[in-house]
């Protein structure tokens, strides 16, 4: 059996029944990482010594007949903006990597370790989470396991590529403007951006306080639901995975969320709508202004957060990050004030849609994964820069904190992700919808073939 192709739930079952040891599962994953990560560049820090100790502790517990958690012996890894005991929390930067090591794990990482997980290390990202490409000037580019000439997306590119590559069945990332949904879509895996405020962000490096979310990546809807359940305390997603989905309450977002999308992305959305039997289309009004508002607030808050270092050591920033942070910090207060007022209006408009619908569909990205180093792409017949435009369809949604599961739609060619967007606190329904699509064969996340 190839342990690296198994789900987290399957691996934990093997460990709990004695069919495999946590140690053997860990070593299989370490071997795969050592073989293929030089090609992909997912890991910035490897914590294999710690992982071996954690796996040995799980195996000892099993041998002693003690209870183990639902992630017994499951290898995991986290974006390098999570505190990991003993490592500086670099957040993709040069500036922070010489800092004092974290004294303890971030609380949500600790929750997974307490459930029996084994930490493999920390993963690459765009500097300070400000980007959609994971082409990091300090740590290099993370490549897409499905086509290594292409980007994995970002900013949680290491987290998504590691799951797609079979380095770990579960990773954690963060999403401020699309940084879970976008790389999940480009790498062909599942990603969950929960409702704003749903998961404890303590022990992670911030970006934009009122947009920042944490969440998991996985290769199955069940794994995604299990990890979500472990990380939040407000309801139980796992027992509700077999919920019925009312086709009349599923709609495709038209207008902004279709304009500019490549035909294969619209096909992916259409195949999900067809699977649900949903034909309705709706408009989320003024999504372009929502995206503009998120763009300006992000640059402003990010610029203010890093202002002291932009003054003291601008030369140590990634050249892709620095100009946007400085320009952002220099914006007039009026823009930010009006953007925050618009946010109130836009949220109210979005919530009206949920009177009639439970799930809204939209592409995760306007196109499949661009090439590494690609500067421009064609959107709606126009040549536009890659970096700011990959998040066109994710930014308006995180702007108002709605929960989203990004699902990998089965297709020939490069991976393509579709956002299942729900009302606040409807993660259980979105996870059930993802499981239904998976059972129908509409979505799937096989491990990428690497050689």
């Amino acid at each position: 059996m190839n342990f690296c192709e198994q789900s987290a739930i399957a691996l934990a079952a093997l460990v709990k029944t004695g069919a495999a040891t946590a140690g053997a599962i860990l070593e299989a994953h370490i071997t795969r990482i050592e073989t293929f990560d030089p090609l992909l560049n997912c890991f910035t820090d490897r914590t294999f010594t710690r992982a071996r100790a954690e796996a040995a502790a799980v195996d000892s517990s099993i041998a002693a007949g003690k209870a183990t958690g639902p992630l017994a012996g499951v290898p995991i890894a986290v974006k390098n903006l999570f505190d990991v005991a003993g490592l500086p929390t670099r957040a993709g930067s040069k500036i922070l990597r010489k800092g004092k090591p974290a004294e303890q794990d971030a609380p949500i990482l600790k929750q997974l370790i307490n459930a029996g997980a084994v930490l493999l290390g920390a993963l690459n990202m765009d500097e300070f989470a400000y980007g959609f490409v994971t082409e990091n000037a300090h740590d290099g580019t993370t490549r897409n396991p499905h086509d290594t000439a292409r980007i994995a997306g970002g900013s949680s590119g290491g987290s998504s590529a590691a799951v797609a590559a079979g380095f770990a069945p579960i990773t954690l990332g963060s999403d401020t403007n699309g940084s879970i949904r976008l790389p999940a879509g480009l790498c062909g895996i599942f990603g969950l951006k929960p409702t704003y405020g749903r998961i404890n962000r303590h022990g992670t490096f911030p970006f934009v306080d009122s947009f920042d979310h944490l969440g998991p990546f996985a290769r199955s809807a069940e794994d995604l639901a299990l990890v979500y359940d472990l990380l939040q305390n407000e309801d139980a997603a796992t027992p509700s995975l077999h919920r019925k989905i009312d086709s009349k309450r599923v709609a495709t977002l038209a207008g902004w969320f279709e304009e500019g999308a490549a035909p294969e992305m619209l096909d992916a959305v259409a195949s999900v709508a067809t699977a649900f039997g949903a034909s309705a289309k709706v408009i989320l009004p003024e999504a372009a202004i929502a995206r503009a508002s998120a763009y300006c607030i992000t640059a402003f808050e990010g610029g203010q957060l890093h202002k002291h270092n932009l003054i003291a050591q601008p030369e140590n920033f990634d050249p892709a990050t620095r100009p946007r942070l400085i320009a952002g910090a220099l914006q007039p207060a009026e823009t930010i004030y009006q953007a925050q007022r618009f946010r109130t209006w836009f949220r109210a408009e979005a919530l009206k849609l949920f009177d009639k619908f439970d799930i809204l569909l939209a592409p995760a990205t306007p196109c499949t994964a661009p090439l590494v180093g690609q500067k421009t792409m064609i959107l709606d017949g126009k040549e536009v820069p890659v970096r700011p435009n990959l998040g066109l369809y994710t930014q308006p949604i995180s702007f108002i904190g709605l929960p989203v599961v990004c699902v990998p739609v089965v297709s020939t060619g490069l991976p393509r992700g579709v956002q299942l967007i729900g009302a606040p606190a409807s993660e259980g329904l979105l996870l059930a919808a993802s499981a239904l699509l998976q059972s129908m064969g509409t979505v799937a996340a096989p491990v990428a073939a690497l050689a």
Binding site: E286, I289, C296, G328
Partner: protein, 60 residues
């Protein structure tokens, strides 16, 4: 905002906020600022009802 006005604004804002711009970085910051102003113009052009308040709330 005309080209020279952008330069004037950036110079003044940089001074006012105490955030100096290295001349080597100026051109790329200027480009990023122009992109932001285009986004800001979309926000400014949208007419919001007067009673709409900012999204973040202070809770005592």
């Amino acid at each position: 905002m005309a080209a020279e006005e952008i330069d004037t604004y950036l110079e003044a804002a940089s001074l006012l906020l105490g955030l100096p711009i290295d001349p080597e970085h100026y051109a790329e910051i200027r480009v990023a600022f122009i992109v932001l102003r285009a986004q800001a113009a979309m926000i400014a052009e949208f007419s919001l009802p007067e009673d709409v308040e900012v999204a973040p709330r202070y809770t005592p």
